[in-house]
């Protein structure tokens, strides 16, 4: 669906005209048409805001950022007021500070409910703002009942009694993600944020990406809380509780403990997890390496069928399938392209499958007593873990997928000072990861990982000689999408792991592999529309899709608040860890992971994409469509 540009240009913006504005007596020269907020920011003057968010188009709904503008009778919202030459602004006058306090008081009065019981207590943007402006204590009647409360999940829990109407969730869902399941209904005092017909999120076309949660300043939107189940399992002596941790939470969880964004605390987290009682701590990047092997093989097999066997039914481009929000999005909105999705499960699910079918019996454990937990940056992983096809003997392969924030709560709740802990390593047999798996969490990382292996398989040369993340170049007209080409100027013999699958690799000599990378589902939709129209992306062979902006590092389960700067810092942490692996002699290529090689030798004996792999590590998808079965009358007055 068409989505408006996130930052619609203000009048005069983008021109080279400079205007002179005065903020609190300080003269600043800024481009014409920027907002007062941006102008003040460029001079280091802070104006408090709430509904403003750097990811979103400004809506001017909360009125926290009001300022005095000379010549204007009423106070103006700094976030939506474009400057003109000579405008004079006061941001801290008595009139402004009193108005700001009153505005925040009214926002606090929008909420009904018990703050200390809320999971955001102590980390709430509204409370921080109230403390900053000196608000609180306004005696107001409770807001109107009838707000949406949806605690069913599976991924996002909604309690709009805590909603203050900032519309960051609505804008994030519509603009950043192009999904739009949250909107504004009613009018006047009955205005409220809601879903279509007040339906639970699980019944509308929500993809569980959690960007709404990521952008919500209060506790109105949260990830469904799985900590109680995990703590119960940890306390149960009959249960063998293991956890797999993904790199994206490890790069961000430090933010919950006061560390700057981009400080990875991987090894200390391992120690904390053992202190919490997890019997084994595994690294999801092991399974990421496994995904590279399986998905890389799948790509070569598709190419072989298309280029050599002339099979016109083979679906190309191949789409990555490790982002469950993206998978659900495709199932809902583009179900005719299901065949393009890689049949590979996500790393989380490959791991869970191996835990329940191989690890348990190999260690004398009844799979029913193994509780498989994952630490993910992602709310959609909760939905994924509950998918009916991702089970064995009726039990989910991943019992609980925890978000970064949930685990931080568990660590804090136990009084563990994460940053003071000694480092410790992951457990075998899955402990050995490679640098390749580590970069899965950043947009472009899956592509780069996969090509490191595929290119070396085909050419016999290191993949980085053909492509690094610097080669993925932005595509004009497609925000958040990058593209690259790799030409196989040479081919080598078929690597041992692929023996029996391909007779030779000669058919790839001179072939140019076209790949693309997209993050944020609004951008993914534009790529899909281009594919439908037979454009550039239809000619690609492999496309990495990540539902969340920035990739998994910007996931709905990550610490909040999140901004482009925070995501960039987290991305740097990934690439630093990737390089660290190389510098310390650990391998950076999935196919060189020794534990992985042992797995193919001992368990996945018929090789990648063979029957055992297909049974354990691949999956099927469900065409869903976006029709909403409602019943009843839309537009009827909401019940009093």
């Amino acid at each position: 669906m068409p989505v408006p540009a996130r930052n619609a240009p203000s009048p005069g913006a983008g021109t080279s005209t400079t205007v002179s504005v005065t903020v609190d007596g300080t003269r600043i020269d800024v481009p014409a048409g920027v907002t007062i907020l941006d102008a003040a920011d460029s001079a280091g003057i802070r104006i408090p805001t709430l509904c403003h968010h750097p990811d979103l188009r400004d809506a001017g709904v909360c009125r926290v950022c009001v300022v005095e503008v000379a010549g204007q009778r009423g106070l103006q919202a700094a976030c939506t007021y474009p400057v003109t030459d000579g405008v004079a602004v006061r941001t801290g006058s008595l009139r402004v500070t009193q108005a700001r306090r009153d505005v925040v008081d009214l926002l606090l009065a929008e909420q009904a409910g018990d703050c200390p019981a809320c999971l955001r207590y102590g980390r709430c943007e509204l409370h921080d703002l109230a403390a900053e402006v000196g608000a609180g204590g306004l005696d107001c009647p409770a807001p109107e009942p009838g707000r949406l409360v949806d605690l069913l999940g599976p991924s996002v829990a909604v309690d709009l009694n805590a909603c203050i109407g900032c519309l960051r969730c609505v804008r994030a869902c519509a603009e950043v993600q192009g999904i739009g399941v949250l909107g504004v209904v009613g009018r006047g005092p009955s205005t409220q944020v809601s879903t279509y017909g007040g339906l639970p999120l699980s019944q509308v076309s929500c993809i569980d990406c959690g960007q709404c949660v990521s952008h919500c300043p209060t506790g109105a939107l949260q990830a469904v809380d799985g900590t109680a189940d995990v703590l119960a399992a940890l306390a149960d002596p009959t249960k063998h509780v293991v956890i797999q941790t993904a790199p994206a939470p490890r790069a961000a969880i430090g933010e919950e403990f006061g560390l700057p964004a981009g400080t990875a605390v991987t090894w200390q987290l391992n120690t904390a997890l053992r202190m919490l009682g997890f019997e084994r701590v595994f690294d999801t990047t092991f399974a990421a390496d496994l995904t590279v092997i399986e998905e890389g093989t799948e790509l070569l097999l598709r190419l072989y069928r298309a280029l050599v066997q002339g099979d016109t039914a083979v679906a190309l481009p191949q789409f990555t399938s490790c982002s469950p929000g993206w998978v659900k999005d495709l199932e809902l909105r583009y179900p005719e392209y299901l065949a393009n999705l890689s049949s590979c499960r996500s790393p989380q699910q490959m791991f869970g499958s191996l835990l329940k079918t191989w690890y348990a019996p190999a260690h004398g454990l009844d799979p029913a007593d193994v509780v498989s937990v994952s630490l993910m940056p992602c709310t959609a992983k909760k939905f994924e873990a509950a998918r009916p096809e991702l089970t064995h003997d009726g039990r989910p392969d991943v019992d609980v997928a925890l978000t970064t924030r949930e685990l931080a709560r568990m660590v804090r709740g136990r009084g563990i000072a994460l940053t003071d802990l000694a480092p410790s390593d992951f457990d075998d047999p899955f402990g050995t990861a490679t640098g390749s798996g580590v970069i899965f969490g950043v947009t472009g990382g899956v592509m780069e990982s996969a090509l490191r292996t595929v290119v070396e398989w085909v050419t016999g040369q290191p993949g980085e000689e053909y492509l690094t993340h610097a080669d993925l170049a932005p595509v004009r007209g497609f925000d958040g999408v990058r593209y690259a080409e790799v030409t196989f100027d040479r081919v080598g013999p078929v690597p041992p792991i692929l023996t029996g699958l391909l007779p030779d690799l000669e058919w790839l000599r001179g072939v140019t592999l076209r790949v693309a990378v997209a993050h944020g589902t609004a951008n993914a939709h534009r790529v899909m529309e281009d594919i439908r129209a037979g454009g550039l992306f239809a000619s690609c062979h492999f496309i990495e899709f990540m539902a969340c902006p920035g990739g998994c590092l910007g996931g709905g389960g990550q610490p909040v608040p999140v901004t482009p700067a925070v995501r960039a810092a987290r991305a740097r942490a990934f690439y630093a860890e990737d390089e660290h692996y190389g510098a310390t002699g650990r391998t950076r290529k999935s196919h060189e992971n020794l534990a992985l090689q042992r797995l193919y030798r001992d368990v996945l004996v018929d090789g990648p994409c063979g029957p055992t792999s297909r049974r354990l590590l691949h999956t099927t998808y469900t065409a869903r469509g976006t029709y909403l079965p409602v019943g009843g009358e839309p537009g009827a007055e909401p019940a009093p």
Partner: protein, 182 residues
Amino acid sequence: MLNLPPEADPAVAAEVDSLVAEHGRDRGALLPVLQEVQRRHGEISDLAVQVVADRFGVPPVDVLGVVTFYRFLAGRRGRHVVRLCRTLSCAMAGADDIGARLERELGVPMGGTTDDGAVTVEWVHCIGQCDRAPAMLVDDDAVGDLDGDRAAETVAAVRARDRTLRDEVAVRVGPTDDQRSP
């Protein structure tokens, strides 16, 4: 992809498509299209909302936001809408009594619609006829200087005209659903 179920009435999608062909699918055409659907059917069904959303390329909840914002788009509407003013001048001139008389005449409470779907009667705020209070709107026409009898006669005439028109149509093309005996 909007995957309408097999039991969905294909006429709804066909009608929306013809309205979009006429008005365009620019967001500014949303209101005229919704108003026309409301006018033709007396209501905007859930199915119509979803099809409109799909054709305009906007999320269904956004279309619902438009429908729930405007009172004239919400709920069921008769083929004719009588709006009696309740604001100060009309209230002081006896609008309450007129309202009671209309309710008796039509057999529905204020806000209701007659069983045959002919007339919806409802309160409205100031329609700018204060010099001719009490006043009401009958569809797009203002009728002022009302007393109980004049108001009752006006709505009776509206119902009679509606019945005659529909009988004429029934003769030509067959009875409508509500004209068939149960």
